[in-house]
Structures are given as C-alpha cells and as structure tokens.
C-alpha cells in the first residue's frame, strides 16, 4: 500500500499578505507527517504529527494562533479517529493546552469516553502529565487585532472569518 497524507489549514477568507504563510505551513506539516508514513509509521501517528505542526504554527486557527471568543479567551476543540477500530477521542472548550490534538488522542487511548470538555479536559491533561501553558502563549497579535475589530457594533465575525462564496 502506498501511503498518503492530506492536510488542510482551514477554509474561508485568507488575506493576500497571509497566503504565502498559509501555503508554507501546510506544506511543512505534510512533509512532517509523510516522513512518518515513509518510515513505516501509522496513519494515526502521521495525522497527529501533521496537526501538531499546524497547531504550533501561529498562522492557523488552532493551538497557538487560535481566534479569541467574545471574552478574549482561547477555547479549543480537537478530534482524532482511528479507522481500524472506529476508536475516537475528542476534547472541547479546552484551555491552556499547547496541543489539543495530542490530548484528544490520549482521550481515545486512555479512557472509555469519546469526548472530555472544558475544565474536565484540562484536569485530564494534567493527570496525563501534559504541561499547562499560559493562555498568553497561545494568543497572537493578529488574533487580538481581529478580536478587537469584531467587538465593534455591527461587526459580522462569521462573515469576517468565512468570507464570501467560492
């Protein structure tokens, strides 16, 4: 079987000045994940590695670079699924975790549950020995600028994020 990996960095409106960053990041992520597949690694290892690289890249809305909610906070969600067993793990509204996708994988591998949320997910992360990071480390100047802009009366955050029809 020839291995294959496909990644995305999000749909919607990507400003021209960020287009190169967006393309470069997904290429780097696919190279990272594909090197695992070429070495005989599993599909699960490859997708988690690729998504971890994208979470660590501030150009994307995940991990470091996440958008802010109306209160100016970062709440993140992640999911993994294994096609061999239909095993799945997820976290929702999790805070102060550097790589939510790795936490989702731990939910799949270490619990009998499919999804842990909010403070429960954070507690689980601590129990699994995952380092808690300061919320500030996940917030970029770009995310803060967009948050401020969309606090204005009459702002349309969904339009701002999703853009026009393709």
């Amino acid at each position: 079987m020839l291995p294959v990996l496909v990644v995305h960095g999000g749909a919607g409106h990507i400003p021209k000045e960020r287009a190169e960053l967006s393309c470069g990041g997904v290429m780097e992520a696919v190279r990272g994940g594909y090197s695992i597949l070429r070495a005989g690694g599993s599909a699960m290892d490859a997708v988690v590695e690729a998504v971890t690289l994208l979470e660590d890249n501030p150009a994307y809305n995940a991990g470091r670079g996440s958008v802010l909610n109306v209160k100016g906070e970062v709440e993140m969600d992640a999911l993994v699924m294994d096609g061999r067993t239909l095993g799945s793990g997820a976290v929702s509204a999790v805070r102060r975790v550097k790589n939510p996708v790795q936490l989702a994988r731990l939910v799949m591998e270490k619990t009998n549950h499919l999804c842990l949320t909010a403070e429960g997910a954070s507690q689980f992360a601590r129990a699994m020995g995952m380092e808690e990071v300061p919320e500030e480390s996940l917030i970029t100047d770009y995310a803060r600028m967009r948050w401020r802009k969309n606090l204005a009366p009459g702002a349309n955050p969904v339009e701002c994020q999703m853009g026009k029809m393709g």
Partner: protein, 140 residues
Amino acid sequence: TVGAVAVDVEGNIACATSTGGMLNQMAGRVGDTPCVGCGGYADNKVGAVSPTGHGEAIMKVTLSRLILFHMEQGKSAEEASDLALAYMRERVGGLGGVVVVDPQGNWAARFSSLQMAWAAARQGQLHYGLYTGEHFTEPL
C-alpha cells in the same frame, strides 16, 4: 481549523482535526470539530474525512459522514466531497472545505469557500493549493 487524513502502508486510515473555533464566539460555544461524523470520520472500509468551515452548518448535515456515505454508494472521494459541500451550501447556506482519502489511497481536497490552504503527499510528490482550481506539484 486545521486537519489531516492519512492511509499508512498497512492500509490503516486515520483523521485528526483541531480548531480555535469561531472568531468572537460566545464563551462555551462548541462547533463541529469534536463531534464524530461532523468534525471528522475514519473507517478503514470506506475512507477518512477532515473538514473545515462553518461549524454549525457542518453539524446540521454531518458533513464527514455524509461524504463517506456517498463514497459507500460508489462515488469517488472528489465527487462525494463536491456533492456533500453543495448540499451543505444549498440546504443550510454553509461554506467549508474537506480533505478526504479512500482505502486505495485516492485523495481529494475540495472547498466551497473562496480559499482553503491544503497540501498532500503521495509517491514522492507534494501537491498543494490555496484558491479554487489551484493544484501545484513538486518533488518531496
């Protein structure tokens, strides 16, 4: 939102999706990403999907499972993606994009929004694009 789908040398399939959510969303709002069948699905017998886009719309049509349903009915990864994205746009006015693989290693990166950054690797080739219709390749 970011995501990935893969098939390994043993033919096993997986998907992963991660997101910071919607800009200026209400505190506590959860979108499609952590929901099985919405924010991703993987089944060695059919394929895998990781989506991105308007989470509420994706959830209303269970986008990932809908694409795999079309593939179970004989559609290619690309045809199934286009059908499901068109349905989501027509039925609930939602925009988004997906990356998809099938057990044979066929893949697709399709979207109804203006842009989606995507990249794929297979047989020593790197494929990538951003705007609709873009498909560049280079050696890995």
